[in-house]
Symmetry: C2
Subunit: 345 residues, 2 copies
């Protein structure tokens, strides 16, 4: 396997004209030949193909987009934290749908920083992406509106629009939580602790689902059982420990995300409590291998990415002139999964 001399390292990409020069035809004929245009003589086509191959010619998609229209064949994907498996799986789902159309995903991570979000969104618009999927960092997204972005299609993911009209794909936070809490209530629990992260839309929704089920069951809300400021496992564990230390402790604990559920698990195990039911939003690896029974609200993050991508592609397909239809909202379903716990009994 020796390097052919015709392909020096870092050659400037060759152009239609160069291929034409080599094949003894014009750039236009090359363009047509490579597109297999029937009007080009088969013999010419052959010559052109050979010349193109020898030169390692590859069509310049940027120049092509410029000439063809305003479509780059790229969609922007802006996420808050790609290291979070939720968002990376979502990204994969979106990429899957976008790739099916031969389009590409341009990725940006914002680290939940609104200023950074504005920058990357602007940059993506300047690169003329055909649309973007955004997991918004802030509570409000006026900067993503048709005004600021000249009508560039935007779909929100994971959080619904606020201060802007846009399609979105969100999880069934309320429904999923309601189902899990309803199970606890059906099992006879009346004192159910709720552990969640500090105010985020998603966590608020889950708290709302929790309260609504309690209300419907005629159970008074006890503020001491609601702890909503834990962002990591250690703080969640402390909060859970405090719940268990109450004079009238909960008989069940619900974690609004996996970190809170895991923290609760640690507290329960450490306190040596048995009979405290554990439940939570988010499935996680090894959830089936804990030493206590666990019921989780599970879902496929990829579904959200796919749904968001489909919403976006629909918008991109809309005739630019046409009056846009009402904003759409896709709610990604959740399902309840129960693990018996003590897997090896």
């Amino acid at each position: 396997m020796t390097e052919p001399e015709t392909a020096p390292r870092r050659a400037a990409p060759s152009t239609l004209r160069e291929v034409g020069l080599r094949a003894g035809v014009s750039a236009m004929t090359v363009s047509r030949a490579l597109k297999d245009d029937p009007r080009v003589a088969p013999e010419t086509k052959q010559r052109v193909r050979e010349a193109a191959a020898e030169l390692g010619y590859r069509r310049n998609e940027m120049a092509r987009s410029l000439r063809m229209g305003r479509t780059s064949g790229m969609v922007g994907l802006v996420v808050t934290n790609l290291a979070n498996p939720f968002y990376s799986q979502m990204a994969l789902g979106a990429e899957e749908v976008v790739a099916e159309r031969g389009m590409k995903v341009v990725l940006s991570n914002t680290d939940d920083d609104e200023a950074r979000e504005r920058e990357v969104v602007d940059d993506l618009a300047a690169r003329r992406v055909d649309g973007m999927i955004v997991v918004p960092a802030g509570r409000e997204q006026a900067h993503l509106g048709p005004g600021p972005l000249s009508g560039l299609p935007v779909v929100l993911a994971a959080r619904p629009p606020s201060g802007v009209v846009a399609d979105c794909a969100v999880l069934d936070d309320v429904g999923g939580t309601r189902e899990a809490i309803a199970r606890l209530v059906a099992d006879g629990h009346r004192r159910i602790g709720f552990l969640g992260p500090s105010a985020t839309w998603t966590s608020d929704e889950r708290l709302r689902g929790y309260r609504s089920v309690l209300g419907e069951a005629g159970i008074a809300v006890d503020a001491r059982l609601e702890r909503c400021s834990q962002r990591d496992v250690p703080s969640a564990e402390r909060a859970a420990a405090e719940l268990l230390d109450l004079p009238d402790p909960p008989t069940a604990i619900f974690g609004a995300n996996s970190r809170n559920t895991i923290g609760a698990y640690r507290a329960i195990r450490r306190a040596g409590r048995t009979g405290v039911a554990l439940s939570g939003f988010d499935d996680f690896d090894l959830a089936d291998m804990l030493e206590v029974p666990l019921t989780v609200v599970a879902y496929d993050p990829g579904d959200m990415g796919r749904a968001a991508a489909r919403l976006l592609l629909d918008r991109i397909d809309e005739r630019p002139g046409a009056d846009s239809s009402e904003p759409r909202r896709v709610v990604v379903p959740t399902r309840i999964v129960s693990y018996p716990g003590g897997a090896f009994g």
Copy 2:
């Protein structure tokens, strides 16, 4: 917050000329004004800025790249499976370094399919990315060489080059494994099981590390203790169970990846064995909460993404004419982490 009437949904992006028309100057003056060129009269600048704002003007980066040179400000990132936290964290690391330079990452997932890899690589080249980071799907990457890609800079990640000359960033598979196995040997273990996935470069390396330590310790390799075809937890659990059922079972088991380690854990627990040491490559969530002591080879996947991105940027910065230097290889370090197990004793 009402929509300004000047920004209809899905307006065609405005151009320098349109802004100029509105401001009563030529396109050239607009270009200069927006770049804050000192030669433009402050008053003109002001008019231009207003006109640009009113029209929601945004520079067309694609047209700009076309005019300016052959650089798009984008790098391709081709991974086999973004749903795998390893690759998504790697992607985040790469994005971080690339974004620092004001460049963008174009993402593609190959699902470990070589044909798909060829397609996306070709597409990225056609989009004139400035370079690409590739986690190769196959054992051989001649199609990523300077010939096929006209010298477009390519950095391999996770696997070293084969059939091609290229920079790469890889994990210290051998070193990490050696360290873990050496600990087991130091603890007196002489029968150590090895569980790995079917032939992959990474797994072969880890097996090599395992064997080398045994050899140096004068321990004969026992083929029955090496099981290398488990790709998921259930099959790993079965393989581990078979090891434990041997007449002369291992006193320690090493998993070449987290799925194999978890499978081994399940088998150990299910068999009710105590005293079987567990170790493995890859850290994972809840590794600290298992019921047996566990020692893992840990590392930061983001390091690999960052290293690969830096290698790539260095290549991109090389003077295109300059003779390229020797290929570089960055080895991302690993570290040993021990969890006592039975966290709640």
